[in-house]
Symmetry: C4
Subunit: 233 residues, 4 copies
């Protein structure tokens, strides 16, 4: 059943290594069929290049397996919590992509520093509070989803306008209208995190410019009437 | 009409992903035919690998579409403002390339720190002032161009000698005698931004050198009469 | 003899350049056959792409060569010290991979900052104390192994739970149940070191967010009823 | 004449882009035939992928062209100053490789921080003093060579033991017994500069470790009797 949904989710999962967002099996993508209330998700621990159509697991919104022989991603319950609470989203991605994860590890929101960010995320991508011991030791993956949904509610952030979150000491979850869009948003999140990290590095930029005479020498060695670089003249 | 110009602009746009300067559709290149007063530019939102000759849009210097079925890049008006004000330039590039954009997001000029910079840019690549609310809410892309032209005028910078700018909280615009040269200058801007960011990181370099005896051990393990690394002797 | 062991070690060594963990010949992998007490290891100074099955050197646990015409890796004695002391491990990797080595050069433990780390290493990956002059000038590679084993004992770290170490001013040694798992752990160590270095960079993140009006402009240029980016509408 | 020398220099130049050490034409390699007193060097401004055997320029030790129709690299005089002063070296490389150049731009020696450095360079790779206006405005490339040779003499550094230098506000020159070895040393210099830059970043590492309970959760989710990640059990 739902071969198209499974095919879409298969392809979206294979995009993760293609975009350099994952190492080994560290990521998973799901998509929901809202009409049928069925979610298709990557199986746990299967390498992307070995992943086949029939490996994709189908579950209902309570996490009951409807089709598939493999265990679903251990992050399934986090995905489901999003689908249950946010009715406009259709696809979810989880990765440990390097730059976004660095912000999660530092416990920092990814602030909107420029228009690249603004083109995709309408404000800071929030970093959640630390989870409590009870949440971690309880139904951990479900509680992760609850903490995220709570964070958006408490801060008054619309998940349709900011389709990503950083889980404290963990990494990003990203979503969109479908799995493919969620992957696209994951790529952008990583790009923006990279740029913002570098911008942060530049905060205390106090380094001196080069000597004017050396600037003259090199520019004029290549440009203007006295240039002597290359094979010209 | 102007098939050569369109072909040149097509190829120059395809260089952006080849040089790693863009993600998805985040960049555009144009070139002007000064004699005819016609500008060829990338259409908005079309992926580089799907871009065909007939997708390239031709406009006059007021932005009226002369040929082409697609919407031109939303940055068209910024390009045109350059062509109208700076008579020596023939090609313009806009990207969100990572390192240059980081400087734009930090609101910092890219200072001339070394001869790599000096070979292409005769002094700091300026970062513009922030745009006013009126400029942003008005004819935004045109106003972006005006703020850039103003920045060069106010600071007395010759756009032929410093063929690039960083737009505050946004990213770089780069130009040159034609589209191909503008792309080359974009590559160099990115390289120089990368080097300058790293040089900035080194400002407070206070880390200790290794022990002399360990230096001796390793150097002499591989070099001189008592070397024992590898298959030698 | 032990063709399977040699084949496994050959393939594991070739994974080092495939995963970008080595430059030139800067790394080596070994695996032990516990039943026979034989260790297979890369020969010293041979490039990975020239490495053949018969180049792999077999030694006993005292370092006596049992088979092979080439000198074993100069780090052999460090590997053997691990096999002699830690009975559960089956494979050892040494590299100078960039990010892990940076922590070794800074003389810092790689702290557990996030779940990527926690999925593989149960606590900080320790950096050893500096070696003494006597240790360096004595049987250096053996002493390196001893310092590492001492570090784990003194700190009460279980090498089965934290399968990696950073040798001060040098680089990482990594292990696992076999050579392949030790290589996998080496990849993870490098990823985690990269993420932790970036998280460190973010500590003093004080950069200002962009203007709200510019955020509005760019988000709404691409999303919602007034979007005008791309070819839509 | 000297076809072998020209072939060696041709191949060594083509290694520069292969190792990611150059952008466009920003680098050159030479080698000397000590017996004949002839130096073979890359022509100025010719892209590496267009470089042919007959493009290689032969000169004597005074810079007189002995064979070749093209202008030699503008850095020729710097190379020659090394060959005239340091009798053991046979090959010279100049690049603007990113990480080494960043140290040059920051005006900093590349200190020996670890054994990767010690395996190739017996102590810090020095950064030269700034050149004087007279030196820059005079016979610039020759003066560059003189400043480097002076730096090694003044500091008592043996160019055979530290086969590289950083020219202030410019970039690295690297040498070795022949062109191929000089390229190898250039690769190592870049690697070491990268590692040292990262080690510098870590100096003020004060970031907190993750919660113990989250560390427990994730490690034990994948390891030990209660693991539930993947398809096992």
């Amino acid at each position: 059943m739902l071969e198209d949904l499974k095919q879409t989710v298969l392809e979206a999962n294979k995009l993760l290594p293609a975009y350099g967002l994952v190492t080994f099996t560290w990521g998973n993508v799901s998509q929901i069929d809202r009409e049928k209330g069925i979610v298709a998700i990557k199986p746990s621990g299967v390498p992307y290049d070995e992943l086949k159509l029939d490996d994709i697991v189908l579950t209902d919104l309570d996490g009951n397996i409807v089709e598939g022989d493999l265990n679903p991603s251990s992050d399934l319950e986090t995905h489901l919590e999003f689908y249950r609470n946010w009715s406009n989203i259709g696809g979810v991605v989880h990765t440990h992509s390097q730059w976004a994860t660095s912000f999660a590890q530092a416990g920092l929101d990814l602030k909107a520093l420029g228009t690249t960010h603004a083109d995709y995320f309408y404000g800071a991508v929030p970093c959640t509070r630390k989870m409590t011991d009870e949440e971690i030791q309880g139904d951990y993956e479900l509680e992760t989803g609850k903490v995220i949904v709570e964070e958006f509610k408490t801060r008054g952030i619309d998940p349709d306008e900011v389709p990503a979150v950083l889980v404290h000491s963990h990494g990003p979850f990203v979503w969109g209208k479908d799995a493919k869009k969620a992957v696209e948003n994951s790529v952008v999140l990583e790009e923006v995190a990279k740029m913002n990290a570098t911008a942060t590095l530049l905060q205390n930029n106090q380094i001196d410019s080069m000597q004017q005479v050396l600037l003259d020498k090199h520019f004029k060695r290549k440009h203007g009437p006295n240039a002597y670089y290359g094979q010209g003249k």
